[in-house]
């Protein structure tokens, strides 16, 4: 089964890369862009299992290694 984990900086952490992308988009004429946050995206293929089991494992992986809880938050999509 396939899952996606999105990792990005916490809202309280300054994201200069996101800011740079935002400025670049606006300078290209996309005035409607208000803000951009940059993050990481992991595509994970798991052996077949129940949705519950998958969520548990993914949450553990995201918390333990895929993200740094001091500065990052994550979202899981199955």
């Amino acid at each position: 089964m396939k899952a996606r984990v999105y990792v990005s900086y916490k809202d309280t952490v300054l994201d200069p890369q996101g800011k740079t992308v935002r400025n670049a988009l606006r300078s290209l004429g996309y005035d409607d862009v208000v803000d951009v946050r940059q993050g990481k995206y992991f595509q994970i293929e798991l052996k077949d299992m129940s949705r519950e089991q998958a969520e548990k494992i993914l949450r553990e992986m995201a918390d333990k290694i895929l993200s740094n809880p001091v500065i990052e938050k994550f979202e899981i999509e199955i």
Binding site: T12, V13, L14, P16, Q17, T20, I65, L66, N68, V70, I71
Partner: protein, 231 residues
Amino acid sequence: MKFGIVVFPGSNCDRDTYSAVERHGGSAVYLWHKNTDLQNSDCIILPGGFAYGDYLRTGAIARFSPIMNSVVRFAGAGGNVLGICNGFQVLLEAGLLPGAMLVNKSLKFLGQDVFIKTERNDTPFTSKFEIGDILRVPVAHFEGNYYAPEDVLDELERDGRVIFRYCTKGGDINDDGNPNGAMRNIAGICNKNRNVLGMMPHPERASDNVINKTDGSRIWLSLLKSLKGAA
């Protein structure tokens, strides 16, 4: 005095650290990351480099290496651990020190000499320093922008655990003297027990008068003095 220098795949400052330690009278051994034996080292050093290519996050994968279990235990028992640059990043990921590193404010790699001011000399790493000593040391990093939540920063300050701060040549701690945006100009911190130190600048690259840089020597001399005293 034996210094164990951990080598992860991608560590590249291990040899400089080895020669700096030996030049000052210590004896050094390399500790391969897959082993767990610290070989009776009196002090452990996590050197600079790009462990695991800095993939995922800098230091994120290295902290799970077998050797790190031993290092964490060693630190817990009061052993001295010094993390330099990438080594500091590994200590942060391993939770031996609080906070995290973000990308430099300039969004570019930074390779140049900087000035850091010594705030405390009551650690084994700074016992031969005077408070206020300004050191000129090279930095070479892409992620040296130290971050921690405000309450953690306040706690660090309160407990006198900020050991080095970036400053100008004249010793002013301000934006001008901050090369990478690190919060409160923090360049090096220690843990509660004051036996684990992490610093971004490279003292092992400023420990040799042939290259006209010797401000880093004090760290090795401090450690040798402290370890001798402890033995």
